[in-house]
């Protein structure tokens, strides 16, 4: 019977943390710090933890309440996706791409489908492009609702009203998406050259009703926390991402935009019908936790504007390229390419190497959260452990994408 009270053997990450403590304590040899004892403790946060938003493990070296060092350990959700790509045909792989960043599945499918379309040299139909933007932006709103909702829920012990309001409205978006694709979360809806189903009758009116009442609801969410002195104290000035960090670590998405960098792939590397749409890039000024929260709330407003313009742009037409309806096996010509698109979390793309067969030869995901997580040790050093929770929530991590 294994002893459930025995401490587990320290693994590589904990050993590294302990070794770093020994190195810093011996650094004081010969100085006036020699002989002082440091009381640094190595604490394990995760992989099962309410505030890490998934199975992320943080090996934190604490000096009292100050965080001296953080070693993130990932891989607890590694599902071998890149190897599975070599055993599935291109069409069979679409549901697996859905499960990468499961909060923004429509955008993940889009990133994969765009790369394959570029390899094959085809363009989707016009109506399908508009539908893709429409549903992608709705998914962006739903994803931000979960991201900001769980972030605010971490700051207070799950008793906040904000996350309940956000999930209530997220259900309306999921209803709309379910009517179109048949599923609430993993849509398997995009196809090479178009989308699987056309919009059902009556859907456009429901969508218009939704976007008519949504702006007031977003303002309602903001009114719940924006004036709260405790929220402001915990978020303003904390976890600042500088523009040099954005350049050094490849930070993209709302995390980069909150630092004042106008990096939005919908504008800098436009794809689909985004060149014809009128929307603003939301940026912040300080790059702290509060700015990241504000950028996400403003992006929800901008997404609603895009959805409205797309509803006006819809014209009758086919939603799939005639040549690709059946059978669902494609063989892209040999070559390789990478296409990135603007996921709610940043730049998400796939690099596909094709050898002309039915299966991808090599598929690599460029995941925004993987790149954003590298900045963690730098962001958390010098902050208190309670701020670590706020900062990790504001970075908006989805472990499905980090671990793939």
């Amino acid at each position: 019977m294994p002893d459930q009270f025995a401490a587990p053997e320290p693994d590589a990450a904990v050993k590294l943390a302990l070794q770093r403590i020994r190195e810093t304590t011996t650094a004081g040899q010969g100085s006036d710090m020699e002989g002082l004892e440091f009381n640094e403790v190595v604490v394990n946060m995760g992989p099962q933890h309410p505030s890490t938003h998934g199975v992320l493990r943080l090996v934190v070296t604490l000096d009292g309440e100050l965080v001296k060092d953080v070693i993130p350990v990932i891989g607890y959700l590694h599902r071998c996706k890149e190897k599975l790509a070599e055993k599935r045909t291109y069409y069979q792989y679409i549901p697996i791409v859905d499960r990468t960043e499961y909060l923004a599945s429509m955008n993940c499918e889009w990133g994969y489908v765009m790369t394959v379309e570029k390899l094959m040299g085809i363009r989707p139909t016009r109506r399908a492009e508009v539908i893709r933007v429409l549903l992608g932006e709705l998914m962006r709103i739903a994803s931000h609702q979960v991201a900001v909702g769980t972030f605010v829920a971490d700051l207070s012990p799950l008793g906040t009203a904000m996350v309940f309001y956000m999930f209530r409205d997220r259900e309306v978006i999921l209803d709309l998406l379910e009517e179109v694709s048949g599923a609430r979360m993993m849509f398997n809806y995009l196809r090479f050259g178009g989308v699987r189903y056309d919009l059902p009758s009556g859907w456009v009116e429901k969508c218009r009703a939704f976007i008519r009442k949504m702006p007031k609801l977003i303002d309602e969410y903001e009114s719940l926390v924006d004036d709260n002195a405790i929220f402001l104290q915990r978020t303003v000035g904390k976890g600042v991402i500088t523009q040099q960090d954005v350049v050094d670590y490849g930070i993209t998405g709302p995390n980069a935009r909150a630092s004042g960098v106008k990096l939005d792939l919908r504008r800098t590397r436009p794809y689909s019908v985004y060149p014809e749409l009128d929307f603003e890039i939301c940026t912040g000024t300080h790059g702290d936790v509060f700015d990241r929260y504000k950028v996400r709330m403003n992006e929800m407003h901008e997404s609603l504007k895009i959805v409205e313009q797309c509803l006006d742009m819809l014209r009758p037409g086919p939603v799939q390229l005639g040549s690709l309806r059946a059978p669902y096996v494609i063989t892209p010509p040999p070559g390789s390419c990478y296409v990135g698109q603007e996921n709610p979390r940043g730049e998400y793309g796939t690099y596909i190497v094709s050898d002309g067969s039915r299966y991808p030869y090599r598929l690599k995901f460029r995941d925004p959260c993987f790149c954003n997580l590298q900045l963690f040790p730098k962001l958390l050093r010098g902050n208190k452990i309670a701020d670590a929770v706020a900062i990790s929530g504001s970075i908006d991590l989805v472990l499905g994408g980090i671990d793939r």
């Binding site: 294994p2 499960r99 499961y102 472990l399």
Partner: protein, 176 residues
């Protein structure tokens, strides 16, 4: 389903003037109380965790079954809902957390990944089903299962909990 010997008639409201007496077995009373106030363990690993979250919030309210108290520590829980894929790196952690739960404890395998590996069954790092590590009481299929499907699983679990007996078993007697 609940066998007849464990059912009891509830007192009628008109009889509240008279002293009310319920006679039943201790098993039934405690199991009934346990089944209607389960503390689930937030063991959301992957995408199914989001549907578990949705089932806890306003539209699909899991509080109507008494299960809204999701505790993050296993020491205070009696139900572990494994929502998501378990891989070889996570398996020792899962076993450790299961061991930390106090008896009586139940496990619900939510989703195709926890049931049998799901769409990742042939991955080199994926454990094909959480029942290879811990004993599972209810399997909820789906990828991800809708909150209503999770509720059906939880109601089946309630029936199973109501059949639990804490009387010491005589040697050779069948499991209660």
């Amino acid at each position: 389903m609940v066998p007849d010997r464990l059912k009891v008639g509830y007192p009628k409201l008109e009889n509240f003037q008279n002293p009310n007496v319920i006679t039943t077995t201790a098993d039934f009373l405690f199991s009934w109380a346990r089944s209607h106030s389960v503390f689930p363990f937030t063991y959301g690993l992957a995408c199914c965790a989001i549907e578990m979250l949705s089932s806890g919030f306003a539209r699909f309210d899991v509080a109507r079954y008494g299960m809204e108290v999701f505790r993050p520590t296993p020491r205070q829980c009696d139900l572990m809902i494994v929502a998501g894929t378990v891989n070889e790196k996570m398996a020792p952690v899962l076993k450790r957390l299961y061991d930390q739960m106090a008896e009586p404890k139940w496990v619900v395998a939510m989703g195709a990944c926890a049931t049998s590996g799901g769409p990742f069954y042939d991955g080199y790092n994926v454990v094909n089903g959480v029942d290879k590590i811990v004993p599972v009481d209810v399997y909820v299929p789906g990828c991800p299962p809708r909150p209503e499907a999770l509720f059906q699983g939880l109601l089946e679990l309630q029936t199973k909990i109501q059949q639990h007996s804490f009387a010491p078993r005589l040697p050779g007697a069948p499991d209660g």
